[in-house]
């Protein structure tokens, strides 16, 4: 049986170790150089759209399909349809801003 030992707490101290952002990045770079990579899933990333439930939602799925079909029918890109829709939107805005003019949903007084 070996001699039981008692720890002299006074003899044990942590060495000064920097733990700022620069040191953290240096440790990360050293790890990456040896293949020690980030493996935890990232938290707080982009959340699904509450409207469509998609992370990279642009439009509702059925609208996306309709745009896709129309663009294919006309032989243009989807961007062309978006540009045309934008032009219509701007025209409507302009019409609404005209004094005394009602919008498409608001008959003029």
């Amino acid at each position: 049986m070996s001699e039981p030992f008692r720890i002299d707490a006074g003899a044990l101290r942590a060495r000064p170790k920097a733990a700022g952002e620069a040191e953290l990045r240096a440790a990360d770079r050293a790890g990456e150089a040896q293949g020690f990579l980030a493996r935890e899933p990232r938290r707080g990333g982009r959340r699904p759209s509450p409207r469509t439930g998609q992370v990279h939602a642009k439009v509702l799925p059925h609208v996306r399909d309709e745009i896709l079909e129309e663009a294919a029918r006309r032989g243009v890109t989807q961007g062309v349809l978006i540009e045309e829709a934008w032009a219509l939107y701007l025209a409507r805005q302009e019409q609404e801003r005209r004094p005394g003019a009602g919008g498409p949903d608001r008959p003029g007084s």
């Binding site: 003899a11 044990l12 060495r15 733990a19 240096a26 050293a30 293949g35 020690f36």
Partner: protein, 222 residues
């Protein structure tokens, strides 16, 4: 108080066993110890669920990559010797924990596979020493060893020593008592008899003493 990081990218090398044996033996020798479970498998947490950790030992579970540096510094400032158990993968969590280590211990079974993969931890320590501009003490401990050392064991150990690697003696033999720690919780003093308990307690105490001596020698050399 110093931080001891148990690190090897090889799974099944004996990291959690080494962490529990070391932490509980240091506590029995009078230290306050924080065991930090950074392994998503939660081996230390399972150990602590079997029975309340012995006096002087506190468990901190579920420490993630984003928290590990702050958690270690907080435990150190609290006056505890920190023993960090890591998952057996090459992850950023490992490199961040090592950045805060006073001593890195790499458990290694005496097989070529364990040695080949375990050496990556030593290479990481060397890379971090250069990046951080400070010396990080590190050592290897052989685990699950047999009473009669195989030629492979002898060859691996000789090769490590020739490369200047510090090898902790005694290693941790393959013992029923060490496995049973995860079945019953607690420490070797409270464990129901499993195999040769006296030899297990003796070896565990000498292992903890060897680690303590390295921490004190490092302090004296600083």
């Amino acid at each position: 108080m110093p931080t001891i990081v148990i690190a090897s990218p090889k799974g099944g090398a004996g990291k959690s066993t080494a962490a529990v044996v070391l932490g509980t033996e240091l506590a029995r020798a009078g230290a306050r110890v924080t065991l930090m479970d950074c392994d998503p498998n939660g081996s230390l947490t399972l150990w602590a669920e079997r029975a309340a950790p012995p006096g002087g030992v506190t468990l901190r579970s579920g420490v993630s990559e984003g928290e590990v540096v702050r958690a270690i510094r907080s435990a150190e400032a609290d006056g505890a010797v920190v023993v960090v158990d890591l998952e057996g993968v090459a992850s950023r969590l490992v490199s961040r924990a090592i950045s805060q280590a006073d001593l890195v211990i790499t458990p290694m079974r005496a097989t070529t596979l364990d040695a080949t993969i375990g050496v990556r931890a030593l290479q990481l320590v060397a890379e971090e020493e250069e990046a951080l501009g400070r010396r990080i003490a590190h050592a290897v401990v052989f685990t699950m060893t047999r009473a009669i050392r195989s030629k492979q064991h002898q060859g691996i150990e000789r090769s490590l020593r020739e490369q200047g690697v510090d090898v902790i003696a005694p290693g941790l033999m393959e013992r029923a008592a060490y496995s049973a720690l995860f079945e019953f919780g607690g420490d070797l003093a409270t464990l129901p008899p499993q195999g040769n308990m006296e030899a297990a307690r003796d070896e565990a105490a000498r292992f903890a003493r060897a680690v303590y001596d390295r921490l004190v020698a490092r302090e004296a050399a600083a």
